[in-house]
């Protein structure tokens, strides 16, 4: 009893003690170096010059959860990563706080899709929610100060610290249960009783689709060149009726191939035909089971896109497959890069590839049921069972022994990721180490699978544009381009010159902004902390221009089918001119810090080399391919959006090592500046969106004047335009490489199949070839130099 009495005497001291401890804690909130997706870019921006979170004593981002006080869940919480998030949270010492940053983490946001947890509050308690997609850096600062106020004002930690019972500290909000303590309605609260229209199996159609009542012209058709025609003829001579060229196509030579002839044909096209198709550009499947003219289609179509470097041309092969578990032969012995593509097709569609060395799931967790891109699989997370904390605790990632079954003697198997400071996102490397030398390297992707392709099948043609921004979240508007161009190609929509020029301007600005992040993080990966800050300083200038023009920062969603969303605002030219004037000097500054630094050279020259032959074989694209010595840039080889009118070079290097990959990007920045200079100087006058109002929201003035525009306005704003039945593949040179959209329309208001060919997928598949034999430090340098981004790999 005595001790309690003495305690009671101490009671008056608790209140001031609380105040002091709370003061210390709130001013020393060390966040964990933790990010899931786009939001983390803005979170990282908060550390840099303009925002400077250090002012609040919170710049000490700890790579280890043991030393962190604050978990800022920035980005999309995927079902595959949620167990990891929970484990990291549990590894943090008490007291700990959680800020949920961005719509995805708050509620699932725009990703109500099978692979995403609808809010991190289903697995963790959350103190502060920061709204936005992504929230601006200022919002992060506000979130932090709100948390400081909460600590200062609401917590009484002294009793806890001395284990006296009572008191409060850290996050104490309850973990919510989807459907019980929080709404399952993806539209938020207040919609009770109003059913959501459409699921993936029953698209948002109407009893007799009103899209059918809208007349649209036939799909755009191209006439094939002589070369393609003669190729088609020689193929039908050689393979007989097994290979048939389609008479009409919207984009490239398209061949229907029988299943048993596809392998000989691919082998022939790769190494014997007059035009050598050296790259397997893409391999994917279409589930044809929901076609409206069902008898005209097989059960599944297997689609190969091939690319020839010289002459620059593409070809498409379509192989019909039948049955519930369709199967075909693997082509991994022709193109090693087919390995991941075939695994993806297996994972997403359940297509079996005979002779594949390791046919297992690649994007979805190993215990997933069903194949998500089949039309019978639910598309929305809210159509599936709720994801609970119990799930997160139970479904831990597979053990490393699953990936490396036979490490060498006395070797250490090390997991790098799925969450690690330098994996540049959620990607898991499993390395077998002899000392520090990597003898085997395996990878596990899919931690950032946002189901973008499935979403493409349910959002209207316009609604899908914001999702394309988020496929490569550092490339912003440059991402919109291949998507809108594939739709324009299919429907034959003409884009006004001014719009094309604006598209080029923004694409190049985003190329600069992306490469700036690359330069900064590459230096950071090698241990230099300061260049990142300089790069982000200039990146802010670019984002200011982007904001002036589009109103957004990371995700402007600015391009529209047929043009861009609005004309350039007053004052844009001065801003861009000022930037163009300043920026080249800044590049010199980075080069002085990085390029000329002997330690950087020692760390990067000759490290992670890949030969040109391998790079072609594995489908590597973008600056990584150019660093191997091939002058290959889609802006020159398949000019689009008016790039043929600009005077610029394609920088290349010869070594194919980390340093060359860095140098190529630095040289590209100088070229981009040139392109921007030309674009601003020669900006044409005129409309910034097509006047083919069938496909675009008409200008307001026109809408008010004539009935025709008014009708189109109504239709395009409510249910969206209809795109004629057909398919088109368009690929663009986005900052990281060649990003292609393969758009398949069934003549409705949304796509039938939306395939995204990303540069990251093949670029990363080749990574073990670069890294094996090098040390763990070199692995980090190689990861930095390859410059991938996770949503682009996993989509």
């Amino acid at each position: 009893m005595g001790s309690e009495k003495r305690l009671a005497a101490l009671e008056p001291l608790f209140h001031p003690a609380d105040a002091v401890i709370n003061w210390a804690r709130s001013r020393s909130l060390w966040p964990m170096f933790f990010g899931l997706s786009c939001c983390f870019v803005e979170e990282a921006t908060v550390i840099t010059a303009r925002y400077d979170i250090a002012r609040f004593g919170a710049e000490v981002f700890r790579p280890s959860p043991r030393q962190a006080d604050l978990l800022i869940v920035s980005g999309t919480v995927f079902k595959k990563i949620a167990p990891v998030v929970l484990r990291l949270y549990e590894q943090m010492p008490e007291p700990k706080w959680v800020i949920s940053m961005g719509s995805c983490s708050n509620t699932g946001g725009m990703y109500d899709v099978y692979s995403v947890v609808q809010g991190v509050n289903q697995i963790l308690p959350v103190d502060v929610y920061i709204p936005g997609c992504p929230p601006r850096p200022e919002a992060v600062l506000q979130g932090l100060t709100m948390l400081q106020k909460k600590i200062d004002g609401q917590e009484a930690p002294t009793r806890r610290i001395f284990h006296l019972g009572g008191g409060s500290q850290g996050t104490e909000t309850p973990v919510l249960v989807d459907g019980q303590t929080k709404s399952r309605d993806p539209r938020g609260p207040g919609m009770a009783g109003t059913a959501i229209r459409g699921t993936s199996a029953t698209p948002a159609g109407f009893p007799d689709s009103r899209s059918d009542l809208m007349w649209t012209p036939e799909p755009h058709r191209i006439t094939l060149g002589e070369r393609e025609k003669s190729l088609a003829e020689s193929l039908s001579e050689r393979f007989g009726s097994a290979v048939k060229a389609r008479p009409a196509t919207s984009d490239m030579l398209t061949l229907d191939v029988d299943k048993d002839q596809v392998k000989p044909l691919l082998r022939y096209l790769k190494s014997e035909s007059p035009v050598r198709f050296e790259r397997l550009e893409d391999l994917t499947v279409i589930d044809e089971s929901a076609r409206r003219e069902r008898p005209a289609y097989p059960d599944f179509s297997l689609v190969y896109h091939l690319l020839s470097f010289d002459p620059a041309t593409r070809v498409r092969l379509k192989v019909p497959l039948y049955g519930d578990i369709p199967f075909t032969e693997s082509v991994t012995d022709i193109w090693p890069s087919a390995n991941w593509y075939e695994r993806e097709a297996y994972d997403m569609f359940g297509v079996r590839f005979e002779g594949h060395p390791n046919l297992s799931r690649i994007l979805m967790p190993s215990d997933w049921e069903g194949h998500p891109l089949r039309k019978s699989h639910p598309g929305r997370a809210t159509d599936m069972a709720p994801y609970t904390r119990k799930d997160a605790a139970a479904k831990q990632p597979l053990d490393a022994g699953f990936y490396i079954q036979h490490p060498g003697e006395e070797e250490l198997v090390l997991n790098v990721g799925p969450h690690h400071v330098s994996t540049h996102g959620l990607l898991r490397y499993i390395a077998s180490l002899d000392g520090e030398i990597i003898t085997q390297l395996k990878m596990e992707i899919g931690y950032h699978h946002r189901g973008a392709e499935k979403i493409g099948e349910r959002q209207t043609w316009h609604q899908f544009i914001p999702y394309t921004d988020r496929v490569d979240y550092l490339a912003g508007a440059a991402n919109n381009l291949p998507y809108v161009m594939s739709v324009e190609q299919l429907a034959g929509i003409r884009v006004p010159e001014r719009a094309q020029c604006i598209r080029v301007l923004l694409s190049e600005l985003f190329r600069l902004s992306n490469h700036l992040v690359f330069v900064g993080t590459f230096a950071h990966d090698l241990g230099a902390m300061t260049p990142t800050f300089y790069c982000f300083r200039e990146r802010e200038m670019i984002l200011d221009i982007v904001e002036l023009i589009t109103g957004g920062r990371l995700h402007p969603s600015w391009f529209r089918i047929g043009g861009v969303a609005a004309d350039l605002p007053a004052g844009w030219k001065e801003k861009v001119d000022e930037f163009v004037r300043i920026f080249p000097k800044k590049i010199d500054e980075y080069e002085a810090l990085i390029t000329k630094n002997p330690i950087i050279r020692a760390r990067a020259v000759g490290v992670g080399r890949i030969s040109l032959a391998d790079a072609k074989e594995w489908g590597v694209s973008g600056p990584n391919l150019r660093a191997c010595g091939l002058e290959w840039d889609l802006r020159k080889k398949f000019p689009y959006s008016g790039y043929e009118n600009y005077d610029f070079d394609i920088p290349t290097a010869t070594g194919g090592d980390c340093f060359d990959r860095y140098m190529v990007r630095v040289a590209e920045m100088r070229q981009s500046i040139d392109i921007i200079r030309q674009a601003t100087a020669n900006m044409p006058e005129g409309r910034c969106i097509t006047d083919d109002y069938r496909y675009v929201v008409p200008k307001r003035a026109d809408m008010l004047k004539d009935i025709e525009s008014l009708i189109h306005h109504f239709v395009n704003v409510t249910r969206g335009p209809k795109i004629p039945r057909g398919e088109a593949y368009v690929s663009c040179e986005i900052p990281r490489g060649e990003q292609g959209y393969y758009t398949v329309s069934d003549g409705l208001g949304y796509a039938y199949r939306m395939r995204i060919r990303s540069p990251g997928f093949p670029n990363v598949q080749v990574l073990p070839m670069m890294a094996e034999g090098w040390s763990i430090s070199d692995l980090i340098a190689i990861i930095g130099s390859v410059d991938y981004i996770l949503p682009d790999i996993d989509r």
Partner: protein
């Protein structure tokens, strides 16, 4: 007897003053680093906790003291708990032999301005600095985490190899001063600091000292980008804080040793000895911070190559040259 008691009291007071000053300046060295790095990176650094963020170290320390202290269940508990103390303790003990001024006379007694003037002080410094490796290596090993283990191994290998260069670079200094005592070495520089005679040894010493303190470009044991937090990955709360303190005390000790061996120790015009020593320590520490803000990190094998193939041969040659010069 009373003599002994007085001596004991004086010693205790000296220890208290030195410890207090060291820990306080370690805390404010962290503050200075965060501010200076901020300026190097075109930003402000901490400025919310107190004026100019001056209370920031206090907030950090208080927070860490009140934090849960996690010992992973698979860790070797005793060694895990002991390791951070080893790092902090050895760093603090090293300062015992650093003279911070000429002897002063208090109440008729001559009081040397050094905690302990032992005649093998230099060996004592090296012995402690070698012991400090155990904190890093054992901390990494006892955590039972692979990243921590890699960090610990790196730390051990790196510090052993740089210890050699560090020691060899000082032999010319000892040859010139003719003593292992730091007090004598400082006194030998009464006319001219040794940096003038021994620029090569100075350069080797500073490089090796930076490697000893595990800072960029030699921060391989904790290489954030590669190993997460390296050897202290599993440490939380104040135990992690001890590693932190150890690092910053170590920086000061190395600054003090640089001053003692090459910059004339506490000697300088006008200002009193302790102030001069303090200025020199801070100067060395600031340069180390500046380097951290500028350079990237070496790779493990490059670090070893620099130590074994460049620094050690260079210091051997330097010894020979010094010896020849002294003979002639």
């Amino acid at each position: 007897m009373s003599n002994w008691i007085a001596g004991f009291i004086v010693l205790m007071v000296k220890i208290a003053v030195v410890l207090g000053a060291l820990l306080l300046s370690a805390a404010y060295l962290v503050w200075a680093e965060r501010k200076l790095l901020g300026r190097l990176q075109v930003r402000l650094g901490p400025n919310r906790a107190g004026k100019f963020g001056l209370l920031q170290p206090i907030a950090d320390a208080l927070k860490m003291l009140c934090k849960e202290d996690i010992v992973p269940s698979a860790a070797d508990r005793v060694i895990f708990l002991l390791a951070p103390a080893v790092v902090a303790l050895t760093a603090l003990l090293m300062f015992a032999v650093v003279p911070f001024g000429p002897p002063i006379v208090l109440w008729g007694r001559e009081v040397p301005q050094v905690v302990s003037d032992i005649n093998v002080a230099l060996l004592y410094v090296f012995a402690l600095s070698t012991l400090g490796v155990y904190g890093v290596a054992l901390g990494g090993w006892a955590s039972n985490s692979k990243f921590a283990l890699l960090g610990g191994i790196r730390g051990a290998a790196q510090m052993i190899s740089y210890e050699l260069a560090l020691g060899l670079s000082l032999i010319p200094v000892v040859m010139m001063a003719g003593s292992f005592s730091l007090v004598d070495i400082v006194n030998a520089q009464a006319e001219m600091p040794y940096i003038v005679f021994q620029p090569v040894a100075f350069a080797i010493f500073v490089i090796a000292a930076m490697a000893e303190s595990k800072r960029i470009p030699f921060d391989l044991p904790e290489a954030e980008n590669e190993l997460g937090a390296g050897f202290h990955t599993e440490y939380s709360g104040m135990r992690f804080g001890l590693f932190f303190i150890g690092e910053y005390v170590h920086m000061q000790v190395l600054g003090a040793l640089t001053a003692v061996f090459f910059l004339g120790g506490w000697r300088g015009p006008l200002l009193p000895g302790p102030i001069w020593l303090f200025i020199k320590i801070i100067l060395v520490a600031l340069i180390m911070i500046w380097i951290r803000g500028t350079l990237p990190r070496l790779r493990y094998d490059q670090l070893m190559a620099l130590g074994w193939k460049v620094l050690i041969p260079a210091s051997l040659v330097n010894i020979l040259l010094t010896g020849a010069f002294l003979l002639v």
